[in-house]
Amino acid sequence: MELHRGPLNVDEITNRWYGKLKDKNYGAYIPFIGIVRDENKISGLSFDIYEPILNSWFKAWQEKAKNKDSYLLMAHSIGDVPNHCSSYMSAVASPHRVEALKMISSFVEDFKVSAPIWKYDLINKERVYAKKRSTALKGAGLLK
């Protein structure tokens, strides 16, 4: 798992990940690249991350992958990422396609609702918390 300030260097990360895995006898490698869309008059997105819990969340997923003889990779941006740049990449390598297809889907979906990352729209150079698009974590409201 790697975190980068600003947009991800997709070419470099893609090549490095593939280079690292290609001779490890995985039959299926599925990368996912998230790209910031030009919508709602934003110039980009911005992110805050809480690393300790992100690390333990990812570690638990890597264990799950290991039990299926698979391997997960992930990269995310911290701070501002302009439109049409990438802020999120993940990938899974598995012995066979069926497991890889299943795992990339469940991993990315769980990432969206569980990873401690906060998203802001960049509008007129201001950061506006994307509250409506965010999901409360499990157990939310404990102190209300």
Binding site: I53, K112, V113, S134, T135, K138, A140, L142
Partner: protein, 73 residues
């Protein structure tokens, strides 16, 4: 004293509190109007593990984190 940190968009400085459990913290925040709307939607972690019980004991060196709704990617 235990440390309380407010993550992401809550945008507040950390504080130190003298409490015995999370219920004490709930009582302490009850009249903080600015914080009330966050408390409804925030999850709570103690020493970087999400918790689901208000009765969890808090010691002097513990760290409590408030985590608002998330949206990575």
């Amino acid at each position: 004293m235990a440390k309380v940190e407010f993550l992401g968009p809550i945008n507040r400085e950390s504080i130190h509190v003298d409490i015995k459990n999370l219920n004490d913290l709930k009582e302490m925040f009850k009249h903080d109007n600015e914080l009330v709307e966050w408390l409804e939607i925030c999850a709570v972690a103690v020493n970087d593990t999400l918790v689901s019980s208000i009765d969890i004991k808090i010691g002097k060196s513990d760290k409590i984190s408030l985590l608002p709704p998330v949206c990575g990617g």
